[in-house]
């Protein structure tokens, strides 16, 4: 896939940055002429991934770094959310709907990330961290950005 544009943002692992991250990535994604529902889906997916990184990866420690990168390809948008936290021991279990380590959360984070992207991959190693990669096809509407780049 040919990369057309890329951005990378590092920020501290505080809950306030969940809103910042989703707005920043949605602004970047808007270069692709996404529909409003697509932008909403991107925002929810980024919120879930960043929220997981802070809450589960770093267990709410506020002095860690979350890295969010977004890359525009001819075919669509790739978003990566990475932490260097505790990692996930059983990715398969963590991705089950309604699985949650916190009774007040719904265990829907991965469900939303999966529903709102065309491909999702989770790479995680205990004590090393977790990287969630999501790819979303942004159909023909992205033609304007691609034509510019070509």
């Amino acid at each position: 896939m040919k990369m057309l544009n890329h951005c990378s943002i590092d920020f501290t692992s505080i809950p306030e940055n969940v809103g910042f991250a989703r707005v920043a990535i949605a602004a970047f994604a808007s270069q692709l002429d996404c529909t409003l529902p697509e932008l909403e889906e991107i925002k929810v997916a980024v919120s879930e991934a960043v929220g997981n990184a802070i809450l589960h990866g770093y267990r709410n420690k506020p002095d860690k770094i979350v890295r969010v990168t977004a890359t525009i390809y001819k075919e669509g948008l790739e978003i990566q959310v990475a932490d260097e936290g505790i990692g996930i021991r059983d990715i398969h279990l963590a991705m089950q709907p309604a699985y949650s380590t916190d009774p007040e959360r719904m265990g829907l984070g991965f469900v939303f990330m999966q529903s709102f992207s065309d491909r999702m991959q989770v790479d995680s190693q205990p004590e090393k961290g977790t990287t969630v990669t999501m790819f979303k096809r942004i159909g023909l509407r992205g033609a304007r950005a691609r034509t510019r780049a070509n």
Binding site: I14, P15, E16, N17, V18, G19, R22, L36, P37, E40, K43, V44, S47, E48, V50, G51, I54, L55, D102, P103, E104, R105, M106, G107, L108, G109, V111, F112, S115
Partner: protein, 125 residues
Amino acid sequence: MENITNAEEAGTVMQVDIEQKQDTLLVRLGGEMDFGVADKLRKALDNELVEKRAKNLVINLSRVTFIDSSGLGVILGRYKRLVNSGGKVILVGAQPQVHRILELSGLVQIMEEYPDETVALAKIV
């Protein structure tokens, strides 16, 4: 009207307006219901429920512009708590993008939902 900010230095991201109607709390929320405000919102609602001895909760979501699973968790947590003690939680007026998330989560399948506050309050008495 109470404002819930997600950090001492950060701007206001969620507005909370609470009114008591007999044994029901009518809560009008505005802004973004995400991980950044979930804890404070949860505590604010729980405090009011205890203080006002409310049995039911009507949540007006018409000014909520964004919700993620943390925001849904706040609603679900209050639902479990009130339903266990014989009360009701009713949702009102979610915008389309918020409603879609409520649908995907299954919350609207288990909770009552009405287009406006008057109808919702009438369903409680």
